[in-house]
Structures are given as structure tokens and as C-alpha cells.
Symmetry: D2
Subunit: 444 residues, 4 copies
């Protein structure tokens, strides 16, 4: 197994660096707000993760290239020790980009040796922990995209991360409602592949019958909400959301360029027209909730979403048994030890870093590859949840307050990274992720 783990490790590590390739060296330190991190910091922190949770534990000969890194690149693991203040990550001109790349090389060599050591008594733990590190780095790859987008966007020169051809303003079908019967159901991850601790334990939950919209809310639909005074009508908003609208003077999604006759939005490919059929994205949970109320609908619970996604996956699996799986997907699945999920034609590997209009046809669309989907569920522990012991237990558990669960995946998620039980979580005021809206409602 370790050969494929090593391969997975190296592919993931290489991809982090290659995602940075379009940047100028000056961009590597950008941190426009405390909640985003500079590209250089992501490159270093993901390295720190392998150093801290693998090499320093399992490789007794390992020597760090610089003792300062333990503090500088610790994100939030109090069990490891002090952390350099998050809002000042952009002020770390040293180590330089070159030094951080050296750091990566140093750790990669040590990791390769560790993974190649077939006689290591902790071989299984090493493999499992390495896979956790890979999933961690994938999460930071996604943050790399959303963070650099935020940091570049504040520059009046409107820099482009990378230029790509524009996508057709394809028509999209009108939304359709999918019906689900609910009942007493099993929730949470099952199976032998990787999952995060917050997807466990699998447990029973009662879900009443519900309906889910088959595609995401579009720019055109969201524009109607705005035109109908959506941002001026308190009765549509949660109290904390309304307060945020006032404080932040929100009048549109994050990257919609204001005073904009031509209806453009800032994207990683530069300012682009806001296509009517494209899913609205970079909305907060509060905006998603207000839109839903305006549309006489509501946000789904995370359990409703998971039920529907599991349903779709089961249907896909049945179909796949009857047909040859796509070769590329099979390869990726082989490397990863797992499979990509239904409706995931988008994602970061397409090289188009913006959501796209829904395909036509029946069934749930846009589950994973376009926008994360806000749910109404507060992020909390499943019944019987136990975080891992030690500092690694800080990964997920300590964030279980004040945040909302998002489900699905986005145009900068990796296809192999997502699944029906995956729980993403952000504060309801956060807008810099590729977050969108899927509506739910009670049966009529």
C-alpha cells in the first residue's frame, strides 16, 4: 500500500507547488485580511504538518531546517505550542519563497524515506497519518485558491491569476424539485476509505420528508432577489445577518463589481461577465438563508443533503456496475483508493476556477464541482463523537460552535476529495469560499 501512498503524497505535494506557478513572487506573501493566508504560508504550513505529525514522531533522525518554523507555521494547534499571530502571516518576508521551497524539499525527502521504510514498526499508522496529511494539503490547496482570489481582488489593477477562454453562457433549465421520503436513517461516513473524524460515528437520525432543488440558484435568480429589495428588507434576514448587512454595507455577493453597468464579477480569470445561468457564488450563509426565505423555500439541513447525495451515489454505483467506468476517473480512484462522486464534472482538475451552469437532464446536478452549498445546520458533534487523542484532535472538534455546515464541493475542490458525508464548515458571515445556494422545502 505504501507505494500508492507515496505516489499520492508526491502528486499532492507537486500539485501545491504547481498551483502557485502563475503567481509573481510578490504574490506569495499576500494576506489581504486576517482570515486568508499567503500562498507561501500554505506551502510552509502543509509541510509543517508532515514534519510535526509524522517526521518528528516517527523519524528519530529527523532534523528541522529551522527551529523558528515550529511557531511560524503552526496554524492553531495549541497542543504543539505557540503560534505566530494569524493576522500577521503576510508580514513574514522571511523565510523567502526559495527557503520555503527548500523546506518542502527537505521534508519531502524525509517523508519519502519514511514511507519507503518497510520495516518501520508503525508502518500502518504512518500510512494513515500520511493520508490525513494529504487530505489536509488538499484542503489547503482549495484555500490557496480562495485566499489568493481574495487578496488579488483588492488590487485596483485587477490582476488575473491565470487567463483561460471564457465559458459559453449556456442556458440552464428551470429548477425542478426532487422528492425524498426521509424516515429513520443512517448518517455519517461508512466504508473503509478515508474520512475525517467529524463524519463519524455513523448514527441514526430521523428526517421528515423533504424536497431538494435539482440545481443551484443562478446569478439571474439572485439578481431578482436584489431587484426586489432583498438587501433592504429586514424581515427576510436572521437578526445577526441583518446586523452584518448593515455593518458591512452588503448589497451584492462578494465579487460582484459595484456600479457595474456591464454586470461583471471578479474571478480568478480576471473580471468576467456575470452569466445569467452561472450559479451565484461567494454568498454568506446569511445571504443564502435570506434568499431562501425570499424564494418561499429554506436551506436544507445537512442530513437532508447527505441523504440525497447518498441516494445519487447509490444510483451512480448501480449504473457503473453496468458500464465501464471512465478511464481517468478509474486511475484517480486507483491512486487514491477511492472513487469520484456523481455530478462532479467540475472541480479543480478542469483548470476552470469558477462555477459553471448546470447541465440539463434529470436528477440532482452541481452536487460537488461548482459551489459548496450552505445548509441550515450548525456545525456540531455527531452523537458519540470523539476527536482523536493529542494535538491532531484539534483538527476538527474544537471548531464545533458558531459555524454552519456546507456540503458538496466546489470548482476548486478535487474530485477525489469530496463525498456525501463530507462536512465543510464556515462562519455564516464568511463569503470568500465558493459558496452557493441549493434550496430545500417541505412537501406541499
Amino acid at each position: 500500500m505504501s507505494e500508492s501512498v507515496l505516489q499520492l503524497y508526491q502528486q499532492t505535494r507537486d500539485q501545491s507547488v504547481s498551483f502557485c506557478a502563475p503567481l509573481e513572487r510578490e504574490d506569495y506573501s499576500l494576506q489581504a485580511e486576517a482570515f486568508v493566508s499567503p500562498p507561501k504560508w500554505h506551502l510552509a504550513h502543509t509541510t509543517w504538518f508532515f514534519e510535526t505529525f509524522l517526521l518528528k514522531i516517527f523519524d528519530r533522525n529527523y532534523v528541522t531546517p529551522n527551529d523558528c518554523y515550529e511557531v511560524l507555521f503552526n496554524s492553531y494547534y495549541n497542543g504543539i505550542g505557540e503560534q505566530f499571530p494569524r493576522p500577521k502571516r503576510g508580514l513574514l518576508s522571511r523565510p523567502t519563497v526559495a527557503q520555503v521551497l527548500d523546506y518542502r524539499l527537505h521534508v519531502d525527502r524525509a517523508m519519502a524515506a519514511l514511507l519507503a521504510d518497510k520495516s518501520h514498526p508503525e508502518r500502518d499508522a504512518i500510512a494513515a497519518r500520511t493520508i490525513l496529511g494529504v487530505e489536509h494539503e488538499r484542503q489547503h490547496q482549495e484555500l490557496f485558491f480562495t485566499d489568493i482570489k481574495y487578496s488579488l481582488a483588492i488590487n485596483p489593477m485587477a490582476p488575473t491569476y491565470i487567463d483561460v477562454p471564457n465559458i459559453d453562457d449556456t442556458q440552464t433549465a428551470p429548477p425542478a424539485w426532487q422528492h425524498y421520503a426521509g424516515g429513520l436513517q443512517e448518517m455519517g461516513f461508512s466504508g473503509s476509505n478515508f474520512c475525517f473524524d467529524n463524519e463519524l460515528p455513523r448514527h441514526k437520525s430521523y428526517v421528515a420528508a423533504f424536497e431538494l432543488c435539482d440545481r443551484l440558484v443562478t446569478n439571474a435568480e439572485y439578481q431578482q432577489f436584489i431587484d426586489d429589495g432583498g438587501y433592504q428588507r429586514p424581515e427576510l434576514w436572521l437578526a445577526d445577518g441583518w446586523a452584518t448587512v448593515q455593518t458591512e454595507a452588503w448589497r451584492a455577493p462578494l465579487y460582484w463589481l459595484s456600479d457595474d453597468e456591464n454586470a461583471t464579477e471578479y474571478t480568478l480569470h480576471g473580471p468576467r461577465p456575470r452569466h445569467a445561468a452561472t450559479p451565484v457564488t461567494h454568498v454568506s450563509g446569511y445571504e443564502a438563508d435570506a434568499y431562501a426565505r425570499w424564494a418561499n423555500a429554506r436551506l436544507p439541513t445537512e442530513f437532508e443533503w447527505e441523504l440525497a447525495a447518498a441516494d445519487a451515489a447509490a444510483a451512480d454505483a448501480a449504473a457503473a456496475d453496468a458500464a465501464a467506468a471512465d478511464a481517468a476517473a478509474a486511475d484517480a480512484a486507483a491512486a487514491d483508493g477511492k472513487e469520484a462522486f456523481s455530478g462532479n464534472s467540475g472541480g479543480v482538475d478542469t483548470g476552470y476556477y469558477h462555477p459553471r451552469p448546470a447541465a440539463t437532464g434529470t436528477g440532482l446536478k452541481q452536487l460537488y464541482g461548482d459551489c459548496w452549498q450552505w445548509t441550515q445546520s450548525a456545525y456540531g458533534p455527531y452523537p458519540g463523537y470523539k476527536p482523536s487523542p493529542g494535538a491532531i484532535g484539534e483538527y476538527n472538534g474544537k471548531f464545533m460552535s458558531n459555524q454552519w455546515v456546507l456540503r458538496g464541493g466546489s470548482c476548486v475542490s478535487k474530485a477525489q476529495q469530496v463525498r456525501p458525508s463530507y462536512r465543510n464548515f464556515f462562519y455564516p458571515q464568511d463569503r470568500w469560499q465558493f459558496s452557493g445556494i441549493r434550496l430545500a422545502r417541505d412537501p406541499g
Copy 2:
């Protein structure tokens, strides 16, 4: 029915004024922080509620004594219009106390006439809305106590709201765990009496087996947590909680007097010894959660709490059938159209405004009359929840984000005000309510 509604109305209105009797006139304007309101404002706002949601709607001849009051005493009803800024309520020296009491009299007379009008075509709606206003005023009576406590406490002269004899430092029994089998259960209010809209609809929910501690955590137990470095150990805390501990420099519950050789705490009866057996109170949700983690336990979900409380109520009802109910309770129940619940020997009518040690004996103790009990449940809508139409719908629904549910009741709650399905809610950082800790755990 309206006679008893009128009686209930008048009793409640009178009690608000009599709760203020021990104050100096200077105290009526006190607002030590934005989150508390001055006594005078509570007296006026509860009056505004009846004026706005009853008299202005159902009494076409009603004339307000001052047009300014509509804005000054609107708390948060955007549907009614603008509101005077909450943090500045303490700066409203005018209207004076005398003018506010006149305002109360003016509204009370109009309400008495309205309730006496047997031919009013909206008679049932008026009665129902009046009961809502009464419950609303009871909530503000409770806030009156917690707010004036907060505002008096910042005065170095340590003023006493009212002096009472000290309570015996009775021993309390060691905590015992009550076991509950859980299963697919019905949750939410049922019955014909009053409940708030957030207790509805009654719905199915699956609850795994759990155990609940039979009494609240005591001062002595919480002191052990402190002595064990509870406020210095990040691994015990949620991330947002730990950040708050740092920002606010928390080292003990809100009113524990620091540098305190004699272990006193500020109470509405002045500084008093912190009795070992008294429930710890004025802790935030974060502190409750950290304490529970330290104690190898957890906070209950609101569903676990409700299940256990409903169980206790059913047992009481069975016992009551077999015996004559206490005369005073019966009277109150008659006036109120509902009954007081098990374990509620405390509460505001005792005149002792501080939690007391648990009684001995078996069964769940301290459910209602001592401290509200933090749950781990984020405050959200029940499946199928619909707020009331119009501005009155802002009462509960718009607060369903970022807050945590507390269950039970406190030493300043009215016995007739609480029930198993009652959902109180505050931000997890809030400490000025009489909030305490009841532990839960998974069966071993």
C-alpha cells in the same frame, strides 16, 4: 375566560412594578453594557408591547400618550419601524420614571377596557395575544433581575438590590447519573396551554441512550476545575471559547470576586460567601462546555434534556393524581391555566434571588428553579417551523443563528413560566443570566 386573562394581566403588570420597589430612582436608568437594559426601559417596553400589538390593532380609539415612544421603546421589531439605539437606552433620562409609570397606567386602563369588551369581534385573538404579552413581560421580569444585577455589580460600593437572610450552607449529595433509553421520540410542545412558536411543531427525533446528572455542578466542583488549571488549558475549550477566555481574561465565573480570600460572590443580596454546595452560576456556554470536557462528560442536547424533563413531569402528574395538589400551586395554575412543573421549588416567587443547593433524594433535581442549563444544541428551527406572520413573527425566529439553547428555568423565573419544552437561548459567551451546568454522558 377573559376575566382570568385580565386577572393574569393585572397581576403580571403589578409584579413588574413591585419588583422595582427596592430600587432608588437613580437605578431605573442603569445600563452598564449594551446587552442589558435599564429597569425603566423594561417597564416601558413591556407596555409598548401591549400598545403596539394589541391596542393599536384592536382598539380604534386608542391614542398613545407620546409619539416618541414608538421608536424609543421598540426593542428589535423592524416590522414596526426604527428603534432607538440599544446601547444608549441608559441615556434616556426622559421620559422620567413618573412618566413611564403614567404610560403604564394609560395602557393598563385601555387594556382593561379592551379585555372587558365582550362584544369585540376579535375577542379570542385579543385573549391569545394578551397571554403572549404576559409571557413576554415575564421574560422581561427575569431580564430585569439579571440586568440590574449586572449594572449594580460594577459599582465599587457594591449596592444590594434587597437584603434577605443568608441561606444555610446545606450539604448536597454526590451527583448521581440517571439513565435514559432514548429511541425515536416526539419533541416539542403538546397540549392546549400557551407555548412559544419556537417550541413547535411537535416532531419526531431519534435520541440515542444517554445519562443525565441528577443535580447541577456546584461551586466546589467548579473550583476544582479552576484549581486544575481549567482556564489555562486550551485542550479543554472550543476554539471560539478559548479566544474569548483570552480576550476577556476570564479566570472564574462572572460574579466571583477576584483576589478573594474569603471566597465571596456578588449576588442580588450583596456580596455573599460562595457556598460549596450551591450550584455554580453565571458561567458562559463555553465555560460549561469546557467544564464538561474536563469532567469527562459533555453537555446534554436540548432533546435529551426535554426527554428527561418530560419523563419527570409524567411521573409527577401520576403522583398528583393520587394526592391533593398544594393549594397555592393550584391557585396559580388556575390563574394561569397551567401547572407548575416538577423540581421547581425555587424561582422568583420565593424572594431568594440566587440558586440553592440541591435537595437530597432520588430523581432529577434543580430542573427549573435555580439555574438555566446550557445544552450543546445550537438554537435553530424545528422541522416545519413557521414564525407567526407580521412583526410579531420577529419574536423568536430571527434569532436562530449563533446562539445556544438553555433549558429549565432559574431562581428568577416564575414557576408558571417554565415547562419541559421551553427553549431559552443566549450566545455561548453570555454570562449574565443565571446559567449553570448539568452534565450528560453516553452510557459506559
Copy 3:
């Protein structure tokens, strides 16, 4: 001498209480911003001043009624000890108004005995310190007016401190320039009466020839500045002033009511028409400076102002020698041991607490009784300045940075309180004093 000191003491003390007579008891605690103090606090602090700097030093039998008062009513004397936080003075509901009046009585009795003790070895020091305390209390009487105006003004009910007949909108003459030759001059207080330490030592200063406007800038003139885009043109403003305009969104003087078709301003006599000829008041130093630049003039230096005022006083003295002094002024002068100054027909004893249009006639007008006049001089020590030893030395000296000197006096100053050498000082952004504009310019 002590009889007249005692008389002066008692008159001053009585006047502080009688100035509060129009208030409701609820008004005594008002503190709308940190920079104002509640009436009750002024009453207590001035009492504390006599207690701290006289009774505790010179009366060995003196016992304070409450040890808490030492901290509660200490304004800023670090040499005495800790101070209750200034922004929270409005939260001290206790001591009550009645208790503060008792405190005043307690101190007044002890002071009367001390002043009557003809055998006290420190009799002269006691008299001198008592006069300082009287002048201190007069300053707080003036602050009482400006503070309560600020605190009442934020109430949407627009309470009136006291009602008086409106004043005629008299015409005022066009401004005329007075010419002064300057030269090497003596500055600072001279004579045997009271002055503050910051008016000393008298010293030489060279002043170039200058011209001073004979009256203050009027509302009508200031309106022209506004109409000419004064608040939108950065070139008229000091950099810190322009930043303040943006941050505070200033568009007019402090109490000009906005959205105001009828051109009213809030006064201590309630909202009143803004008369064209009335001096503009409640402008910051930044606004005064910007106005002057717009008018092709400048603010005077404090030395120019003093020179001109001394000139006017000398002319008055000469005239007075030739004529019988006004009887009332003579009485006041007798009580005070000093005389009132030229141009001071206004001031607090008129009972009209707002500036009035300039009289016609030649010579400098409106020197003292209408608005304090911003100078361009930063408040600093005179050459050779030495503050008094001990805590009393904190009275003036420690504020000699970042503030600007204002000269003259206002409609709420006492005639006996002002003189050519008197230096008032506030931050250039302060607007809640009765501060106005007198222009200066270099000879053409």
C-alpha cells in the same frame, strides 16, 4: 479676608446646586459620551476637591462620610490614587443625588469651620487654596452646562434645560478689523488677584503687527462657508482635521439640526431658530481653522488675542476711573476681590445660555460672554513655567500636549472668572464647548 473668602465659597457652592434645579432627578446621572460628566458627578467632584486638598490636609479632625468617594470622585489626580473609570461615571447610581447633597453639606460645614478658624497656622494657605477650589468649581459649573447640553441633546424628545423668551434676531454690523502694532511685549498674568499657574510666569514675547476682527463669525457667515462646499474641500483643512471630518461625517456645527428646512439648532432652551447674526458656536478648532482659511484669514495666536484684550481692558480701566462703575459689577468685584472685564455683557449670570449677536459700536466686541475663541496656539508651558508641587500640580501642567488654547469666555462663563490672560484648552476636535471663531490676519 476670610469672611469674604467664606462668602465667596458659599455663594459658589450654592450656585452649583441651584444650576441643577431645573433638572429631573433622572438627569443627574446622564453621561452621553466619555468626555462629558454627569451633573451629580460634578457636584460630588467639586466637593471632593475641597475635601482632598483642604480638609484632609488642614483639618485633622475631618472624617469623610464614605471612603469610596476618594476613588469615585477623583477626576485625574494620580498623586491622590486610583480613579473610577471616566467613561463609566454615568453608571454610578449610588451614591444617590440625596447622598451627594449630604456629602456637599458635610464638606461645607467643615469648610465653614476651617475658614472661621482665625488661629489656624496655615490660614493664608487655606484662603489661597479655597480660592483655587472656588475657581475650580466655577470651571465645573461651566462644564455642567456644556455637559448636560450634550447629554440631553441625544434624546429624541429634545428636552429643554430651561425655557426662556427667545432673543431678538438683531442685526449685527459688518465685521471690522482692529489694527495692533505688536512688538516685544509682556505676556501672562500680572497683578495680585488669582490666576492659574499656566498663566505664569509673565514673560517677554515678540509679536509682529496683526489685525483682529472686532466681532465673532456669525451663523450666516458660517452658512456661506458650508454652501461654498467647505466640508467637501480638503484644501481648506489641516490633515488631521480633514480625517476627522471624514470619520465623524461632519457637515455642520455640532448642534445644527440636520435635514432642517427651518434652520434650527439645539440649545439649552430647546431647539431654536439659527439667527443669522448669532455667533456660530460648537465648532471644533479644525472647523475654525478651515473657516479662517476659506475667509482668507487665520486664527489669532493666543498672544495676539491677549495683547488685544489687555489693550481693551486698559482702555476700560481708564474710562472707569472717570466714571462711577456699575453698581452690580462693583458688588461682584467686591465679593470676588476682582473686577469684570470689558465686552463682557454676557455670561452665565444673565440666565441666557446661548451666545448673542454683537452689539454695534466700535472696538472689540464679544471678548468674553458669548463664545470661547479658538487660537492657533498649541497649549504649552510658558518659559520658566513650574507647576505647583504635589498632586495639585496636576491641575494644568500635565495637559500641555495636543490641545489648543481658547481665549475669552462664553455665555456660561462667570464674568468674575475671566480675564485677558486666562488660558482655556481643548483638543482641536472638541465641539461641545461654546467655542466660536474670531478671525485674525496679517496687515495687508
Copy 4:
């Protein structure tokens, strides 16, 4: 004359770039606080200055390389238009360093052509404005050093700007007092060379006799102030200074490393021992004032300082007439059209970017080349001061409030840049300049 202006221009422009040579490219964007600017921004803004105030005015064929630069690199000239927000200058990853260097080249070529155009009708104005631009760039060179020092210092890796040999901890002589008779004096710049508008007009001022310390306060002397409780004794401080000490938790000068057994301070040459004889530097005006009070002295006024410095310059000139001037200084003077001043053996051209102990011998020492010296004078206009018309008039005049004057020059000032009448100004709380303390006192 224009040949020498061109030469001066080119030398200055080259020096700005060469000062950046020791940096990593990542350092060019560093902005650790809003009050410092990134090196790249200094390089661009000084270029913008020539573009805006020369090329766009005097060269009708000039084309800017990028229209965005007008806003991005405008510092504070409202007369030119909008400015990119100062606190976000560090977030401008674009234009890159390479692009900014191209911008410099672009402007330098156009400037060379403009200065070479002997037939230009505005040839004199161009030369004068170019010299202003050169002096402006020299000020930014100095800010470059103090800003990058501040920004590098926050990095736990303690990066060194450039390494140099340590300087001997030479002994310094005890301080001696120089006596000055004062009198009615002329102040302000006189002569035909360049000066800033704020040094004019030359005017009369009366200065009483005073004494000035012949050298700056040393680290060892300042340590005594600290050891004597200087930072804990409010009686030593101005009120605003004491408030700042509390808010900022100051306990030592800015770069003294705390918890420091070895008594080191952060310098542009890395952490170094705090030599006893080295002048204390990076103290605020408040600290300088408090130290002076502790030492039974005071800060000089700016007029006292200028008088003494003019005196020293006159003595030097007399000596120079009698001897051959130093060749290197003569060269610099030739290039600059002006001469270097007495006591200025330090300064940026020595390549040692830290103050050095005073030389022994008689007379005023350390006037220019070590630390700027706080005066007690608030920065204001001289009598008759007129700023230049147009946007260039914003250079100095609009800052004449709330700042204090510093006189002299520092270890990162250029020798040709300073003179007796030069007025530097910063807020009294500012500490990131090389600011030190020279004491004054009144004759005994």
C-alpha cells in the same frame, strides 16, 4: 546650473535603488503597520512625485506607463485626487518590483530630457521643482530605513538588513551644559540655498537665556530612568503620554528586546548589545519629555535648538575660513550647492545605520548625524507662513497640528539634507524614527 541639478537628480535616484540592494524581493512589500510604507512603495511614490509635479506639468509629450499609478502612489495630495488606502500599501503585489523599476527608468529618462532642454520656457521653475523632488526623495530614503527596520523587526527570525562590524563601546564624557544668552533673535532659514516652506519666513522671536546639554542622553542614563520606576510614575508624564504608556504597555524604548539578560536592541545590523555610551533612540516625544522631567531638566524649544545650532554653524564657518575644508565635504557641497553642518560626522553615508557615542571635546556634539532630537515645540506655522499654491502646498502646511518638532538629523539622514533651520515633525507617540533626547534647562 541644470547639469548639476541633473547630476544631483541621478545620484539621488540611484541611491534610492542601491539602498534596497540588500533586501530580498519579498521584503519590498513589507508594511508592518499603517504608519510605515513598503520599500517598493517608496520607490514608486518618489517617482510619482517627479511625474506628477514635473513631467505632467512641464512635459506635454509625457505619457504615464500606467494610469493606475496616479492613485496607487499618491501619498496624501488631495489636490491630485484619490489615494489608495495607506494601511493597504503592503497588499499591492502588483505592480511588481520589476515593474516599479521600469517605472523609475521611464520617469528618469523623461526627467533627463526635461532637464537637458535648455530652451524650456520654465527652465528655472523646473530646476527648483526638481531640487524639491530630490529633497523629497531624500526624506523618503530616510523613511525607507526607519520603515524597513520596523517591518523586519516584527519577524521572529530577526532578519538583518545588512551586516557590518560592531562599533566599539567607547566611553563618553559626562554631559556638560552650554550657556546661551538668548534675546530678540531672528529665526528661520536665510540664504539662497534650498529650504522647505515651513522654515520660512525668517522672523523675530524672543528667547530667554537657556542652557543646552552638549550631548544626547545615553542608553545608560535612560536605563537609570527605567530602574527608578520611570514607566510606573505618572507624575513624570504628560497626561496623554501616561495614557499611551498604559495602552501600549511601554516599558522601554521601541527596539529594546524585552526579557533581555544580555541587554540587546534590534538594529538594522541585527540584534546588538545596548552600549552604555550610545544615545538612547526610538523613544517617543512623551518618553523624552518624561525623561527630561525625571532629570530635573526639560526639552528645548525648537527656537533654542536653532539658536544653538546656528551658533555652532557660525563658529564652524569661521574656522573653515581659516583652513582648507575637507575635500570630500567640499565635493558633496559642490554637487549639492550647499554645505554640510557642524557636528555631522555621522549620517547615512557612513554605512552605519545606528547612532554612535558622542565624541569627546568641547562644544555641542551629535547635532545631526545620530538621532533627531525632540523639542517641546508643537509644529505650527511661522508668523506670516504661506504654503505654496496648488497641490504642492500640501507638502508641509496641512500637518501643522498635533505634531511636535524634532530638530537635527539622524544616522540615516544625509549630511547635505540637514541644517539649523530644518524642522522635522512627528506625533509625540511616534517611536519608529531615530529619535533621541537632548536636554535643556533654565539658567540656575
